[in-house]
Each structure stands twice: as C-alpha cells, then as structure tokens.
C-alpha cells in the first residue's frame, strides 16, 4: 500500500478548476483514484454534483477516460464499458490492464440508481462502485433521499408546524450490498485518508464487483462551515453513526473503533440541518436515534466476532 506521500507524487485523476463548492470533500476521493493503483482506470459518473461540477463543456476536470450518461444508470453504463474491454482482451486487441470505477451520490445510488447498481453487482462485472453519501439530493438543492438521516431538515422535509425534518430512518445500503454476496463491500469516510485509500485500492484491484460507501459531508446541505467537512465526517464516525468497516467475501471486519464513543447529539447539533432537534419536544426522537446507533454498532461488532 503506498503511503500518502507516495500517493501525492502520482498524477491525480481529478484536476483543480472543477466547480464543486468551496470546502466540498468529494475531490478527496476522486483525486485518490489513480494515486492508489498502477492500473489504468476508466471512470463513470451518475448525474449529480460531481458530474456537473467536473464536466462543464468545453472543460473537463478528468485526466482519465470518463463517461456520464444519466442519473440512474452509471452501473449499467459501466457494465457496457467493462464488457467491451472483455471483448478486446478476448480477441487480443489490447494489452492494457484496465479497471473500472463508477461513482454516484446517494440519490443516484440509494434511490434512483439502486436497480441498475444491484443488477450490475449481481452480474459480477469487474467494477468498483463508489457512493459518495452526503445524505440528500444536494445537486438539485437539498431534497431528502433514502440516505437522509431521521430528523434532518431538507427542502422536501422542512421544519414546519406539524412535521419537522425527515420522518423516516435512512436505509442501510451497505448492508443491502452485502446481501449481493459480492467480493468486497466497505464503508469509509473522507476524513480518514489511509482507510479510504486502502479501500479504494482493494475495490479497484480485486477481480469482480466491489462497493464502497463513503461518508461525504455537504457544506450547504448539512449547513456547516466550508472548513468543517473533514471534522464533521470524523465526528460522524466517532459517534458510530457511520462505522468504518469492510466485508470481504462475506466476512465482516471493523476497521476503526472509537476509544470513547461520543453521543449522537454531538454530531447532530454541529449541523444546521438538525438544530431544530434541540427543542425538548424531540427528546424522544433523539433517544430513539441514539438507541438505534448503539444497536447497530453492537450488531456490527457481533458480525465481526462471528467472522473470526
């Protein structure tokens, strides 16, 4: 595994000049893609922040081949790209060692794109899918998604007189992907570059499908200061809301255990989208939120125990 210093010497797949928001942490992982591996990469993006901000014609932030076609289908699009590579290999028309990476936000992955993602992984393409989960449809202006946490205010789950924030829990897409019996499924966070780059490298280099879910705070969506993305992600991991773990050939491994698990409210109350929950009438909701985080963390540790 290359050190961060070695990685920094390699050319990044993603160049400066892109139009992501100030403080957006998405480039942390897009830059790593080519830096972690010696394979040549072909990338694809679902419609979303990363796609629109990286490819405003006639400019492109991508130094490697990259394709975008639509919102719900990056996994299907990349299936076609990867299949064509297999044809070239089979016929001896290329001596390149190519790997394929699809990227989408939680909208393009948890929701509108889950069908094509599920099928591409089930078919077993040699493809790493990276979801950058910022917990809402941020590109269209912060609407709730299946990944939006309970209670979060978005433009479609506003804080009103009768309801306040999202009324439902988020779905656990990482577990859904584990159920696909694929080679590699992992959760990572943009605040931990060692763990993140290890997982990207593993997902890229193994033969077969891999899925990586990356916690990726959104400055305007989470209503945090532009210099707070990394800190906010770290806090999410320290609460165990977003555990760092991987499932390799069905075996769970927890990659990081907080020394002192901090309360979920530390994370929630540091973000503008949850500040309404400080009102005492939401005490029950917060208790339930904490209980669920605790239960899922315990469940995860049990899975790891069962695997060893």
């Amino acid at each position: 595994m290359p050190t961060l210093q070695e990685m920094a010497k390699k050319k990044a797949a993603f160049s400066s000049g892109h139009r992501l928001c100030a403080g957006c942490p998405v480039p942390i992982f897009t830059k790593m893609l080519t830096q972690v591996t010696d394979f040549d990469l072909v990338l694809g993006s679902a419609t979303g922040c990363l796609e629109v901000a990286s490819s405003i014609f006639p400019y492109s932030a991508w130094n490697v081949p990259w394709i975008h076609t639509a919102f719900e289908n990056v996994a299907a699009t990349m299936s076609g790209v990867e299949a064509m590579y297999r044809v070239l290999k089979k016929e001896g028309r290329t001596d390149k060692r190519l790997k394929f990476v699809a990227m989408g936000g939680d909208g393009g992955t948890y929701d509108i794109g889950i069908q094509s993602l599920s099928a591409a992984m089930e078919r077993g393409h040699d493809l790493l899918y990276i979801c950058y989960d910022n917990g809402a449809y941020m590109n269209t202006g912060i609407q709730r998604s299946g990944a939006t946490p309970l209670g979060a205010a978005t433009t479609t789950t506003p804080v009103g007189e009768v309801t306040a924030g999202k009324q439902q829990q988020r779905k656990d897409l990482t577990k859904i992907m584990v159920a696909h019996h694929m080679r590699y499924v992992a959760q990572a966070s943009i605040h931990n570059p060692i763990d993140l780059s290890n997982k990207i490298k593993k997902g890229i280099e193994l033969d077969g499908p891999a899925f990586l879910n990356v916690l990726c705070p959104c400055i305007p969506g989470w209503r945090i200061a532009p210099d707070m993305a990394v800190e906010s992600a770290r806090c999410g991991v320290e609460t165990c809301f977003w555990p760092l773990y991987e499932v390799e050939d069905g075996k769970y491994k927890v990659n990081y255990r907080p020394k002192q698990k901090i309360p979920i409210t530390d994370w929630l109350f540091s973000q503008g989208r949850f500040t309404h929950l400080k009102n005492p009438r939401f005490a029950g909701l917060l208790e339930g939120f904490q209980r669920q985080v605790d239960e899922e963390w315990t469940w995860l540790l049990d899975q790891e125990k069962a695997a060893t």
């Binding site: 991508w62 076609t69 076609g80 089979k90 190519l98 599920s118």
Partner: protein, 381 residues
C-alpha cells in the same frame, strides 16, 4: 433478426426480454452459448439498463446491438435520446407492439412512433426479408463517418416476427465483407488519449450541438441511398428511401408503413386490373423523413390516403403530419386525409382496403374530403 445479428457478430449485446422481441435475444443467446459469435451478452435487468450498457459499450468503441418492443422501448426513452445525442451507432431491432395501457402484446407502431424525435434513424420493413436486409445495411449506415447515429430497424410484431416466410439469407462471409470491421472513435478504453463523454452542455453550446446532430441525421439520407445501392449490387435486392408501387400515373395513392403494405399491393393489383389508377407509397425511412423525394413521387396524385398504425392523442397520426407537410407545396395540392387502423393488433382485411379505395374514389369525384381523420374497423361510433 437473430441470424442477422449472428452474421454481424457484434462486440456487445445488452438486452432484456419483452414479447414479441424476446425470441431475437433468446436465439442470439444460443449463438453466444455455442460460441458462434464473439459477443459479450449482458443480460441486464431492464431495458433502461440495456440501452445504458449499449451506450457504455459503444463509447468504449464497440459495435453494439439490442432488441426490444413496446413498453421496453418506452422504458429506454431517456437513453434513446442520449444514445443519439452522443452519436453512438447502436443497432436495435424494434419488433413493433402496442403500448400499455391497456396492456396488449400485438402489433401497432405506437412504440417506435413515440421514439421518432429521439434522434435515431428509423427504417421500417414490410416482411422478414426486408427486415433482415435492413439490419444488414444498418451498421454501414449507422457507422458512416458523416452519420454516426443509432438505427432502429422496425418490423411488425407477430404479423412478421412470428410468421414463417421464405427468404434469402446471405452467406456469413458476404455479410461480413459488406459491413466491414468497426472501431469506434474516441474510445473510452484508449487511456492514452482520455476523453470526457457526456459533459454538461449549457446555453452557450447546446444549440450548436443540436444543429450538428440535425445535420448528421439529414446526411443519412444520401448515405442510405448509397448503401442501398451497394447492397443492390452485392445481393441483388433493390431498396429506396420508400417503395413506390404502381404510383407513376396513379390518381389515388395510399401511404402506409410495414406489413399492411403487402395487403394493399394485392388490392392495388386487383383495382388496376379493373382499370382504376391507384397505387401505394410504402414508407421505409421515417427518420430522417424524405420530404422532397416523397413530394416528387406523389406529383400527379389527386387523393392521398395516409394510414397510421399509431395515434398521437389529441392530434392527427404521425405519418399523416409528415405526408401533409411534404405535400403542402405541391401544385396542384392533392386531397390528403388520415385513417388510423390496427391498434393493438386489430386486423385490416383486403375488403377494408377495397372500401378505403372506394372512399377515395368518392372523394376524387366530389373534389373534397368528407372526413379528414377517422378510425377504421372499430365498434360503435
């Protein structure tokens, strides 16, 4: 169609089953399983993903094919536009079937007509021979440097797709020589020359790109003429942008698409024997639409009956709109009217066509159209 696909031997096929196009892919899957083609077959979970995977494979430089019908084509709708706008020469068999609701598996043209603005070249076929021939020509048209657009080869569901006809299949090698090898431009797999496919294109460039796309599809007309000519010289079957059947001196002409043309030809022959000056103009190329050529072919016609096997709810039929537009500048301008038939597989019999010609004779005698638009063979009023 599966045989044509086997002979074309595409790099990638991505498809999802839907009646009545299912068998095309089933038969092709046996060719893959038996190693008769080199193709990577991607058995996707939906037609949306079928077209998405086709676009990916095409952008990766491959010759790519699929097949679908009706709701499957409708589910592809978003990706049809993207395939054409990214200038991907994808080849697709469309076995025409009625769209839901109500769900129906039989033939009409509502599916492909609904896709007529998507930027695909659309070629229609009266019978299996023509469908096969169109598919053999399709890659040469689609991949031509001036065109680089996807092609739909359309044929009637069940009426043609599930009928047994005598036809000539050409030798594999002859077909492969005719279509030649293909290497897509700007392949995603060329990591030495990285390209960005599918960029965001705002008001400062979008309309120029659309104008370029329009020029490309317009240029397909002359490309199709030259490919058809080469096909004729190679295989001996002659095709033009549309088929003119006994229209040289015809006063009354019917215009129709696909299998019904066979029936109309029989009725035309019978009426010609009885001394009536009638004829048929059978559409082959619907996109791009050959307005000028059709206007020239219909010069002298006095009454033109346009048969649409689909509806554009709240408007006249899609073929009618094109034919009337083509004839607007004709002098003298013929009477032109529209009949909708065959939705959801409803039969149109030779007697019905006889009646239609009797109606057009009445219109010719009276010098006016009584009913510009109507449904044929429906119960009640």
């Amino acid at each position: 169609m599966a045989e044509a696909m086997r002979q074309i031997n595409p790099d990638v096929v991505a498809a999802f089953p839907i009646t009545p196009s299912t068998q095309v892919i089933e038969d092709f899957a046996t060719f893959v399983a038996d190693g008769k083609v080199k193709t990577e077959l991607i058995t996707v979970e939906s037609e949306h993903s079928a077209m998405s995977a086709c676009i990916g494979a095409s952008a990766a430089g491959g010759r790519v094919m699929t097949a679908t019908s009706a709701n499957g084509l409708a589910l592809m709708w978003e990706m049809l536009y993207i395939a054409a706008s990214m200038r991907q020469p994808i080849l697709m068999t469309v076995v025409n079937r009625a769209l839901s609701a109500p769900i129906n598996i039989h033939c009409d043209h509502g599916d492909s007509m609904g896709a007529r603005d998507a930027g695909w070249i659309q070629i229609y076929a009266e019978n299996n021979q023509e469908a096969y021939d169109n598919m053999v020509m399709a890659p040469v048209i689609a991949e031509h440097r001036d065109v680089r657009l996807p092609v739909m080869v359309c044929l009637d569901g069940f009426i043609i797709s599930h009928s047994i006809e005598t036809m000539e299949l050409e030798e594999d090698q002859a077909v492969r020589d005719f279509i030649g090898p293909y290497r897509g431009l700007h392949s995603l797999l060329d990591t030495d020359r990285p390209v960005t496919w599918g960029a965001l294109d705002l008001h400062d460039y979008y309309i120029e790109h659309k104008r370029g796309q329009q020029a490309a599809i317009e240029s397909a007309k002359s490309v199709i003429e030259s490919v058809s000519d080469r096909f004729y010289r190679t295989f001996g079957r002659k095709y033009e942008l549309f088929e003119s059947y006994r229209i040289e001196d015809a006063e009354r002409v019917m215009v129709a698409i696909n299998s019904v043309a066979g029936e109309i030809k029989e009725v035309v022959d019978a009426l010609r024997d009885a001394g009536e000056k009638v004829g048929l103009l059978k559409i082959r190329l619907f996109r791009p639409f050959p307005y000028a050529q059709i206007a020239a072919a219909l010069r002298g016609a006095k009454v033109v009956t346009v048969l649409d096997r689909s509806t554009s709810m709240g408007a006249y039929g899609p073929l009618f709109g094109e034919i009337r537009t083509a004839l607007y500048d004709a002098e003298p301008r013929p009477l032109v009217y529209n009949r909708t038939f065959g939705l959801g597989g409803r039969e149109l019999f030779p007697d019905d066509i006889q009646e239609l010609f009797a109606e057009s004779r009445r219109y010719l005698q009276n010098g006016k159209v009584e009913k510009i638009f109507d449904f044929l063979n429906v119960r009640g009023d």
